[in-house]
């Protein structure tokens, strides 16, 4: 499936909530969408385009905004597709995909605790990898690592 085909299939359902479909190596393409079209897009991808397998949900902190991306797989066409949506940093929330693909559950929990993207209507948004009550979101760019205190800090580069 080419990006153009994807766009042709998705545009009627989503309208302007679908932003672009761009080519992406090793996949059928990357679908950029507005976050209010999330649920419709997920349903269309699963039911009409037979992307029944959600492989991964991840989030990236681009400082000014955050990006949530989904990797889907279709057994019929044996190919991947990427979905990605930008959410503003001060209101980082998006509709959960776990109602459409149950496998999104844990991935979204991880994305929430790591990059602080809130997934609306998630059934079980608890800490997964960090302890309960952990206050930080480590994969934000503002979260810096440092050497343990008794070890002297060296500069890595000249």
């Amino acid at each position: 499936m080419q990006p153009a085909d994807l766009e042709a299939a998705l545009r009627p359902k989503l309208g302007d909530r679908l932003l672009t479909v761009e080519p992406f190596a090793r996949t059928a393409g990357r679908v950029r969408f507005r976050r209010d079209g999330a649920l419709d897009l997920f349903r269309t991808m699963r039911d009409d385009l037979a992307y029944r397998h959600l492989s991964m949900v991840g989030a990236i902190d681009w400082v000014d905004h955050r990006e949530v991306f989904y990797v889907l797989w279709s057994d019929e066409r044996t190919e991947y597709v990427l979905l990605s949506a930008d959410v503003p940093a001060d209101d980082a929330r998006i509709e959960t995909a776990s109602g459409v693909w149950p496998s999104a559950n844990w991935h979204e929990r991880e994305a929430w605790e790591m990059v602080d993207v809130l997934f609306d209507h998630h059934p079980d948004l608890r800490h997964l990898l960090t302890p309960d009550g952990y206050a930080f979101h480590p994969l934000l760019r503002s979260f810096k690592l440092h050497e343990p205190e008794e070890l002297e800090v060296k500069t890595r580069h000249v």
Binding site: L129, T130, P131, F136, P138, L145, H146, E147, P148, L151
Partner: protein, 180 residues
């Protein structure tokens, strides 16, 4: 069919033992008088303690695989009487074989406290020693000696099974000279 000797062997042995026991007693009391009770009894228990170290059977990370390999056929740590037990109550040795995170830290301390005295801790691998490659990470305890007292550190990432056995032998040397 049953052709036992005329004098039961048991009786002969009992008579021999009669002669043996006072002699042994005399020798032992002479030793104790000469060297003090501590010097006689303690080496025996130290010998026992160092030759039957039961490590706690738990796997933390990469080193746990080498830990398991050391109990495999090629190295066979059981040769030294090292038998992993699953319950901390029956262990004398905690081999921290991998990265300790803050999430598991209090459980590690609980397990350590559940082990009866005398007990030892081996920090196996660099993660347990000082956090290893992950020591900068937000979730990693930079060295298990922050949580429990460590007797022997084994460097390596992960240490070979031989290196682990070497660490256990070093611990045995420690126990040999133990004065409590």
């Amino acid at each position: 069919m049953a052709s036992e000797p005329a004098v039961p062997f048991v009786e002969i042995e009992a008579l021999r033992a009669q002669q043996f026991v006072p002699a042994a007693k005399e020798a032992l009391s002479a030793m104790i008088a000469e060297r003090g009770q501590e010097k006689v009894v303690r080496p025996v228990f130290n010998w026992a303690g160092r030759n039957s170290l039961f490590p706690l059977h738990w796997g933390l990370a990469c080193c746990a695989i080498e830990f398991a390999a050391a109990f495999g056929a090629r190295w066979d740590a059981e040769r030294f009487g090292v038998v992993p037990r699953s319950s901390p109550r029956q262990c004398d040795l905690m081999i921290v074989n991998g990265t300790v995170t803050w999430k598991v830290a209090h459980k590690l301390i609980t397990l350590y406290e559940q082990m009866p005295e005398p007990k030892w801790v081996i920090a196996m691998g660099n993660c347990a020693t000082g956090g290893g490659p992950f020591r900068t990470a937000y979730s990693v305890v930079p060295g298990v000696d922050k949580l429990v007292p460590v007797d022997v550190y084994i460097a390596g990432c992960p240490p070979r099974p031989e290196a682990m056995l070497d660490g256990i032998l070093r611990l045995e040397d420690l126990i040999r000279e133990r004065k409590e």
